[in-house]
């Protein structure tokens, strides 16, 4: 790895959650029975024509603006021609040389500052149908006995985002994608769930010597369906390319598949047999000319972007916590909860997240009271309260009433009992194994069913063991 720099660009597809499809009025919904959301238009019956979904255009404009793009005054749909059963018209309506949004920048904060990633374009297109290969290995077409097509997905509005090759580590690519996802979710335009395919990511990967100008041959890594796999896949491909170069070989241009189970990269097809898509302007549609008023209305609907929020939080928290809060969408709750910032951040990010409580439904004031009192109330009570924090009508009051046991006269007999029962550990502690303190604290907490105040227990134990 030393001496080499990864160069990565991403191609991201985001399904918009509009009520209807991109070019027909079929319901746009995930998970319904196969071929129950179709019509003559999305099945490409002869004579049918596309009519663009105005909401999808608005949302693509909004996303483009969030990515810092320029919105074209005039944008054109093209036909991208190829034969496949998931493409009933034999062409996909997409965009080519006049996309809706171009030339954007999207900041990815890191511990060492921001890195601006160039956005080449964000354009609108329609999704293909879903092909299911039956009888083959792992749903792959090779070896399949037959294939089934579900046209429900066909015609779903899709925004394709292409970045410049500005990403220089698997970690940075993963972070970019996470912040992009969070942005899309906050804009309310997509579920952007990788496992459902509403957010999909391909990566163009190459490597070059540190300090080298220009770009070497890139490979295209297809459809990595989780954030982790995006990072792992890119890391594996970067390592493979470095190995190829270091052993004196050349990297060939090809499309690759990352198998997360084995961590292996395999070839899908070589670019030499690449399609000629024969793009030409879609004659069934007129150019899209978003009015300035619409663009401004969309701009006004965009809130503060994740990168800006991370930078703002960094004033009071470290980078990892700031990033974590924002990337998980928990920073809004964090900001509403009063109290010591680091304590609030840790609870919101870790303990509260573990309970599965929805951050948007939590009463921040009440949570603040709880966090403020967390050293005074029993640990078990605190956990119980967090679990309930997302429920309607939650108040901290009832939990705060359960003060932890801090009275030494109540704790000392318990401590005595435990020290008496663990003579050898007491001896070990006194001969220098001070790490055993935690063991004794645990025993006391268990004995008191979590109700003892750990701080007081610590103090009392130290005193007794030191004697």
């Amino acid at each position: 790895m030393t001496g080499w720099e990864p160069v990565v660009g991403l191609e991201i597809h985001i399904q918009l959650k509009t009520q209807t499809k991109m070019f027909c009025r079929c319901e746009n919904v995930w998970g319904e029975g196969p071929n129950t959301r179709t019509c003559p238009v999305c099945l490409a019956h002869p004579g049918t024509l596309p009519v663009p979904n105005g909401r999808a255009i608005e949302w693509a404009v909004k996303l483009g603006l969030a990515l810092g793009c320029e919105v074209a005054e005039r944008s054109v749909f093209h036909r991208k021609n190829y034969f496949y059963p998931d493409l009933p018209k034999g062409y996909q309506i997409s965009q080519y040389d006049e996309p809706l949004c171009t030339a954007g920048r999207f900041a990815v904060p890191g511990s060492g500052g921001d890195h601006e990633i160039g956005i080449v374009r964000a354009h609108l297109e329609e999704d293909a149908a879903k092909t299911v290969h039956v009888g083959g290995k792992a749903g792959r077409i090779s070896g399949a006995a037959h294939s089934l097509v579900d046209f429900n997905r066909g015609g779903t509005p899709l925004v394709e985002i292409v970045t410049e090759p500005d990403l220089h580590s698997p970690e940075e690519a993963r972070r970019f994608l996470q912040l992009l996802r969070q942005t899309v979710v906050e804009l309310g335009i997509s579920d952007a769930e990788m496992e459902k395919g509403s957010l999909r990511c391909d990566a163009n990967v190459s490597v070059r010597r540190q300090g080298e100008e220009g770009l070497r041959t890139k490979t295209e890594l297809k459809n990595m369906n989780s954030f982790k796999f995006v990072g792992d896949g890119i890391a594996a491909e970067v390592a493979r390319q470095i190995e190829v170069y270091e052993s004196g070989g050349e990297v060939g241009q090809e499309t690759l598949h990352f198998d997360p189970a084995s961590g292996r990269i395999s070839s899908l097809r070589s670019k030499e047999e690449a399609h000629d898509y024969r793009y030409f302007p879609e004659p069934d549609l007129v150019p899209v000319e978003p009015p300035a008023a619409l663009v401004e209305r969309m701009r006004a609907e965009i809130g503060e972007l994740p990168a800006a929020r991370i930078r703002r939080l960094e004033g009071e928290l470290d980078f990892d916590l700031s990033y974590g809060l924002v990337a998980s969408g928990r920073d809004e709750l964090y900001e509403r909860v009063p109290g010591e910032r680091r304590a609030v951040a840790n609870v919101v990010m870790n303990q509260l997240a573990a309970t599965g409580a929805h951050p948007g439904r939590v009463n921040a004031e009440e949570l603040g009271k709880l966090i403020e009192a967390r050293d005074r109330i029993p640990r078990a009570t605190f956990d119980e309260a967090l679990t309930a924090a997302g429920e309607p009508g939650f108040t901290a009051e009832r939990y705060l009433a359960e003060e932890a046991v801090t009275d030494a006269s109540e704790l000392d007999p318990v401590i005595e009992r435990i020290l008496a029962a663990n003579g050898s550990q007491v001896a070990a502690y006194r001969s220098g194994k001070e790490g055993l303190l935690g063991f004794f604290v645990g025993q006391v907490m268990r004995e008191t069913q979590g109700k003892a105040n750990p701080k007081v227990v610590n103090e009392r134990l130290r005193e007794r063991l030191g004697a």
Partner: protein, 469 residues
């Protein structure tokens, strides 16, 4: 006794209104004519057994999708296809109460000028069954001229309404692009396809345009006509400035009889009060045809990609893989002309050739538009023959695609510019009808109808084929 050869749609509507005849009786009379003459003419691919409506029955070219009624575009690849929806124009006809007589023959996917390219056998010209009715809307033209329908709809991409109207002695309107919905019209070349009426008279044409025109939310390329269609009344042409584009009136291969008829028609127009002058369209005529044969096949190559045997229509029986299914299905299903145009179009769009062919053709298209716009600064309408020849014999051009393509040399230039054109019969040459093409600026349908109606009165052309009188 209903004389289906003579009766205009307007007269038929009058009979219905005065309750002198019922819609069922009308439909029965046309069915009887179909039974009598269609075995010879083969104007229809499908005749309905029953149809709803209390108006004047109609025949639709078989590219017009009709719910529950087979729609084939005269291609074997759509064999067995029965649409589950109505095209917008078919729905307009239903809403107007026009019973559907049947679906008419055409050149496969509207690709041709003689109806000989039909996958189901040619249609014959009612004026002379040894001759073609023109194309691609030859079935609709033959049906109206032969008394097998009072009126019909065709579709026009390069001249497919105007040219068969000319060859069959009828009135054919190709409307301004975007004024009639294409929703449900089996697509050939989307930026050129336009549905329009084939009728016996100009007033019938206007009546049918009232039924089918207008913006359609299902077709993003449609607009509302700026003025509603009016029924023409005037019988003179006073104040009308008519331009005679020299290149359209002296085109290569123009038959002398056609030229004489058209010249006589122009003199008559002057007598009716029109100011006539010469104008020029040099580049439109020189490059129009070549430009058309790049753009139309390019669009067709994409429009015909959906016929893959997977979802509807013909599917080849194969043991092999997906590619073999595609190849066999398309090999068996498409005739020679669609195959020829798919190949031309695919080539014109290919990487490395796009700029030289498709890209260049689009630029030429702009030049053609500009040239027409310039001509319309001096003239209200332009006039030329519709076709350089009268109806030719079956087989005469079938083996020579280039000769066939030249049939449309006069209709293509205005089509490339998206302009409306009206063909009206203006006389006979060798006993066969000659068509006069009137070209107007965008949305000038009312002007075309007014001029066409006045000329039609003056010509007093008898649209009933001589041998059937």
């Amino acid at each position: 006794m209903i004389d289906t050869l003579r009766l205009t749609a307007e007269d038929a509507a009058g009979l219905l209104k005065r309750k002198e005849v019922s819609s069922e009786e009308l439909t029965r009379a046309y069915r009887a004519s179909i039974a009598e003459r269609d075995p010879e003419l083969h104007a229809y691919l499908h005749v309905t057994e029953s149809a709803d409506g209390d108006g004047v029955p109609i025949a639709l070219k078989d590219v017009i999708t009709t719910k529950g009624v087979p729609t084939t575009a005269a291609s074997r690849i759509l064999g067995g296809y029965v649409p589950v929806f109505d095209s917008t124009v078919a729905a307009c006809c239903k809403d107007a109460g026009l019973p559907l007589l049947g679906k008419t023959n055409l050149d496969e996917f509207a690709m041709g000028s003689s109806t000989e390219n039909s996958g189901f056998g040619p249609t014959r010209n009612p004026w002379d069954p040894e001759r073609v009715p023109g194309g691609s809307s030859g079935g609709s033209a033959a049906a109206v001229a032969g008394g097998l329908a009072p009126w019909a709809l065709g579709s026009d991409t390069g001249g497919s309404i105007k040219q068969p109207a000319s060859l069959c002695g009828l009135v054919g309107l190709r409307p301004t692009y975007g004024t009639v919905s294409r929703y449900g019209i089996v697509a050939f070349a989307s930026s050129l396809d336009q549905v329009g009426p084939l009728t016996k008279t100009v007033r019938d044409s206007a009546l049918l345009m009232q039924v089918i025109s207008g913006a359609d939310p299902r077709d993003s390329t449609t607009v509302e006509l700026p003025q509603p269609i009016e029924l023409p009344e005037a019988e003179d042409l006073r104040g009308l400035r008519i331009g005679i584009p020299r290149e359209l009136n002296e085109a290569e291969g123009m038959e002398p009889g056609v030229k004489q008829s058209v010249d006589a028609a122009i003199r008559l127009a002057e007598e009716l009060g029109a100011e006539v002058g010469e104008t020029r369209l040099p580049r439109s005529v020189e490059f129009g045809l070549a430009c058309y044969y790049l753009i139309a096949p390019a669009e067709a190559s994409a429009n015909l990609a959906r016929y893959d045997g997977v979802r509807f229509g013909h599917r080849a029986q194969v043991d092999g893989d997906l590619t073999e299914l595609y190849e066999r299905t398309r090999w068996e299903g498409f005739g020679d002309e669609p195959k020829r145009r798919i190949m031309l179009g695919t080539y014109a769009l290919s990487a490395g050739y796009y700029e030289a062919y498709y890209g260049q053709a689009q630029k030429v298209r702009t030049v053609i538009k500009d040239e027409f716009a310039a001509a319309f600064r001096d003239f209200d309408l332009l006039v030329s023959p519709t076709s350089p020849t009268v109806a030719f014999r079956l087989g005469e051009k079938a083996e020579n695609p280039l000769a066939m393509y030249l049939s449309d040399v006069l209709t293509i230039p205005p089509n490339m510019a998206g302009l409306p054109g009206l063909s009206i019969p203006c006389g006979l040459s060798e006993g066969l009808p000659v068509g006069l093409q009137l070209i107007g600026p965008q949305f000038s349908e009312n002007a075309l109808f007014r001029a066409g109606h006045a000329l039609e009165r003056a010509f007093a052309f008898d649209y009933v084929p001589e041998r059937l009188r």
